[in-house]
Symmetry: D3
Subunit: 306 residues, 6 copies
């Protein structure tokens, strides 16, 4: 007998589930924005907006005629349990949710939320992958020489906590003026590789990612993709918009260059619906998520991929 009721919308109509068991990749929302500069609060609504806009997306890749949601048995687990303005318990909730997925053998594909949601995810991933590397694609380094837990210090704290390998981790796409001096120097002092937007455009994505692949090899990669890597013309609804970013085509092309990495987590963040225009940033984020799933599925299909 057919069902009587239609449940609430999920990402691309993936089945809702409460467990990652049996899935190769899972969707988790991170509705938290208390690490954001107070003039642009709102990314807590990001996961709901991405789910809504994902109704515009189609699942099949016309080049491979594969559907990554089916191939990976993707389920949508809902949102991590967080509390606005209670950063400690929220971080615990995020880490627990992501650890559940990682522990079950699934790749967590998460939707933010502001950039602060990354640190607890790194903690969860590092428990399973002690040699965790990060490819951080963002207009900002998020490794500022300041104190505290917020969107600007995720990768400063991550080095201090030892939850990633900075020598094999990279910030790609930094651009625009900063709140304090010394930002670039600090990221490099922490051991990170730094590829500014100017450098990325001058050298070309192909050359840059070849260098990254050479350095990272087959190590497990946490892909942290901040939507403000895109130019505000394509993605106005972010926490810290910065002009001079990638067009959608450029950004998706650069994203797809991560296909050669061994992706163990994808973290797409900083969609802020109150600052969005017609849902376009959320829709672009949904497109980024689908591409992440497609990359994970492609690697699964290769012989000896795991």
């Amino acid at each position: 007998m057919s069902r009587l009721f239609r449940p609430a919308p999920t990402f691309m109509d993936a089945p809702a589930a409460t467990s990652a068991a049996g899935s190769r990749a899972v969707i988790i929302g991170m509705p938290f924005d208390c690490g954001t500069h107070p003039v642009r609060i709102g990314s807590r609504q990001g996961p709901a907006a991405i789910r809504e806009q994902s109704a515009l997306l189609r699942p099949w890749d016309p080049l491979t005629d594969r559907n990554p949601l089916l191939d990976l048995n993707v389920v949508d687990l809902g949102d991590a349990v967080v509390t606005p303005s209670a950063i400690e318990s929220s971080f615990a909730g995020i880490e627990a949710a992501v650890w559940h997925a990682v522990d079950a053998g699934a790749v967590p594909v998460t939707m933010g939320g502001d950039g602060a949601v990354t640190l607890p995810q790194l903690r969860a991933l590092h428990r399973k992958f002690p040699d965790l590397c990060v490819v951080h694609i963002d207009a900002h380094t998020d490794a500022y020489p300041i104190d505290g837990y917020n969107t600007a210090t995720t990768f400063s704290r991550a080095v201090e906590e030892g939850v990633l390998d900075p020598a094999r981790s990279f910030h790609v796409g930094a651009r625009g003026p900063t709140m304090v001096p010394g930002v670039f120097a600090h990221a490099e002092a922490l051991g990170y590789g730094l590829v500014t937007m100017d450098r990325l455009m001058a050298d070309g994505a192909e050359a840059v990612f070849a260098r990254l692949r050479e350095r990272i090899g087959g190590r497990p990669v946490y892909l942290c993709f901040d939507m403000d890597f895109f130019d505000p013309a394509a993605a106005p609804g972010v926490c810290t918009p910065t002009w001079g970013g990638a067009s959608a085509r450029e950004g998706l092309d650069i994203l797809r260059r991560c296909a050669d990495f061994r992706l163990v987590a994808c973290d797409i963040n900083t969609v802020s619906p109150p600052h969005d225009v017609g849902g376009m940033t959320a829709f672009l984020a949904a497109t980024v998520l689908w591409n992440c799933l497609a990359m994970i599925a492609e690697r699964e299909r290769r012989p000896n991929s795991r």
Copy 2:
């Protein structure tokens, strides 16, 4: 152990459920709008918008210090299974969903959707309550002298199908010009009582509802509340806005006069989010739903109420 994931939002955070068993009232969405005049399509998004805006509502009645959601063990069943532009199968899905609730002994409190969603609900209710009466609060009679199944003919077809008792059913609030002549005469020819907006204001709500109560008595009442009863200044996001309606305070006051009826179903419809302004119509509809729940709960608390 506390839960790891937070599920999708429900109406006022009521528990999501797939069965009405054990509840005295249940929430069901009716995401269907193919009975609407094509220039204002969009009420299929009504249930989602009402759920979203219901986050602004508080549950406790300060006059009685009761919480109707707790008193009635309200659950949110999700949406009926409908298909845009397939009116027959959609009507079947709506009737099945509502019958499930009625059959379980719960009062269905439904959120439209355009006014066409009412007919299949009447069919379900009439199966259990052969002496069903309707109080229809709306800027339009929806009993037009024309053919077909759409928002303008719900109560024409309902009489033909015999799913209500027109002699004890009333259209309250009709106003504004109509698409064809003969509209008021037809409603009365079908046997309905007609209380135009002008009449309601001239006689006063107290006198009008006293007449209705006298006529209906303790018979089972299907409350059909079209959000366009409110003036567009309060509820712009409806399918067929008509100036000269009730203010929010007037409309809520009139609604609460239904507390003396034996409500067996509440059907709040025609929220069209694409035409709404800042979600205010959806928020007002959520307020109407809460008041319906409060009225049902109040009657439950009275001795010998059922």
Copy 3:
């Protein structure tokens, strides 16, 4: 043979025409806003917005089962020929357009445009009706003790030009603070009757309009209806919004009290689409126009009405 092409939208789909001959009432747009305070320019787009929103209106009056557009053979003549910032030639264009209608024996029903479009219309009407009276329903008197031609001085200039009979003309609905002192005193010094909003509400519309009817009798009446008579909650998209106005129901009720006047022109103005919200002010203005047509048609149907 059926037509191949559908022309551009007109008011309520009335036939487009280039002559008023044969019509008892005609629609004319007045896309001019250079008499407006410069922070709220935009009413030049008013006629187009009213035409667009009129698609939401229905033509039949359910109380009389008459269609005033058919009864009056209403046509839409398009817009008067005006040039932004060229007030003299624009006034000439407005007067010529309105005179064409008046000369053909039709009642011009015009859509502004800011309040400055009224003066040239009065000039045209006065040529035919030397005993012209004005009922001016507006939050402002537009009879300020200042110089020049703009929205605030229409009725100061009109007395100076002798195009109306101030002793039988009335400003109804004035409220709110003013730009200069002495505004109310000046209107009365010019000979006008003044009914402030406070007075209208205190005495009641019935008593107020009885006084007006007693004074005006069967003389020809120019109805000048400024949409800012409505409260901004109902009509936000006006040139000079002022809180404390009529609700839509109150305003339409007051409007309909003009049915006893011998209406020779109806001038509905100050819809400013850039300041509107979801087209609601334009839609309310369209409703006002339909009611004007209904009143004209009703009078036509009475014995010895002309």
Copy 4:
């Protein structure tokens, strides 16, 4: 010589100043919203929006031909110095700013900000007026039986701190469901008078305010006016919208009944621009401020008024 530069906009173009000396009333903004429920943050932008919208207001009262801004020598002092999320230092900044005005003999007319900005203002006023009474016009009592400093507890804490006389202070306009039970009982247990919206409408504003005047007499009155007293149809851009409130005309009429009180402070709060529609709530708030100034000026003109 005329000035070369035009400074930033102030409330109704009142002179900007850094001292209240020589003014009988002063404007101060309170750009703080960290006491607000996190789904509707944004009232920190309230003062800027009210200043912007005040450009639509005119200064002269046509009934008295007086200009209260000139009569009172009103200046705009800018905003109190607050820090989002640092409630203690923000409260200190608010109290200091208001004390400056009070100490200089001026009536502070302040623009919020959320309802939490009231407590530090009461502290400042109470230093000068030990017999301070409050007339609190609001959809909520803000005297909830819960802990902490936020918009819901201002008047709970105020009684505990002894900064007002609850026996001569009143909550006017409470309506709608509440987050916890026991809200009305708690306000009364604290000693306040409570006039719900239902009571206000049933008894009429004239009778209600006569009772208040009888009780308060010539004591100093702090007028706390929460914009959510208005219905969301008139004031959508507030922190906690609640349907069933006053229309603009009703609300302004009720406000003007405070003219007989000895107003020593006016606090207009909870304008939240991100949730506003076309600036209408901010414009209505500006209208409320002008009316407060007009009432203060009227009292000044009466013999023996101080």
Copy 5:
């Protein structure tokens, strides 16, 4: 004598007309959207929006100092007669309108409407040009391996009906995931040439269009330009937005490469105003139309061009 009334706006103020006689190119609107996926209905409003936004366009080409509207004696015929949800009669109305233009020797330049409006236009063109070729610039092939008449099957049905020469017709710009598998293979199986967006960017527009010109030669070309070829950052208001498209500059450059074709029809479609942002998609579509007119005029000026 100068005219008294200004008619409704046309495309770039071209003369309104009811016949194509005497024009070398004509504008026709196609206000139909019932072939569109139901979540993005609205392109029926496309023609009106394009006409409105065309007021921002200027007519003279500064490089040639020619005005194509004057050179071609362009008139605006209004809209084809269609009925929402009645696809058969609508297709007949579209074919009749376009045939009228073709039969009169004019190039129809049409504005959609969704992509379904293309099939009846092809039928009309094919009656006159049996060797009709199509250059289809679109993010989608619209040649899906599914049944029915809708936006996804236009070019599947066109081959079956034999109204174009697939071997000399091309889909340019396909990108993004698809609803079903096998989409690209099906287009090629039908005989079409396929140039994906990736291929277009990799090979360059110059090389790609050289191949097309070589294949098509002087045969009559139907240019079908779907606005979703542009990236959603430039054209958000389309029926099926897909990230990764052309920027405005890229897209206009590619469009202008059609100047060497013998254009016998230009069909610009899928502007959906309810999903647009500030009218920018409609304005970009108007720019595309002007460029089509400029290309047609240029070819007319060449010796032996017809």
Copy 6:
């Protein structure tokens, strides 16, 4: 003692001042738009919007670790004193404000306003720098072969008045159709260098600016940057949007190529907030201003730079 009140917002929180004395660069707003085509009035609100959006900007350049606002002691002088629709007195006010800055030895960095604000600024600059050259980056030449003072004739009048050296002045970025023929020829006939957008893209910015530097050398340069140089996808809120412009990254890159010029004035104009989307054009303009300040500061730091 810390301050009690926070003054109105300035550009990037620079100190407000009434004199340029002691500053190397100053911010001045030009809230004037009466030179604009009447369908897009609104740039008078540009300066306020840019100040508001500048709150999103950060001050430190991460490549040099310098803060140009501190290095140049930038102050915000407020707005020049202008009167809408009074072009002569407004031009006098603009010239006086700019002369004040120039006379004090500061570089005026001004925010429009429409393109008409440039002419009086050129007059002021020319008084101090008789060999003034202009680099005009704009989608239009603003040197049209027509009469009068408006946005289209600034550089026609400037040559006639002799306030710049056309032989060493350049229009960069012209594109799109024009209102009249002969536009490009006229600019060249006046003596200007013309670099169309097509030419700029074909030759590359590096080559083009090398030619400009060769021609201009160390002469004083007035940089006139019209925001419509950007594509409407990045900058929708301008007076005369024209598709095919620079992306934000391209535009900022081209802007920064002016670092080698001796900039004596920067004039960023045509931000029209009513036509903007989410403030993005104003935010991009703020970014352009910051880059201008950074270029000025860089030159100051070079040995022998002045």
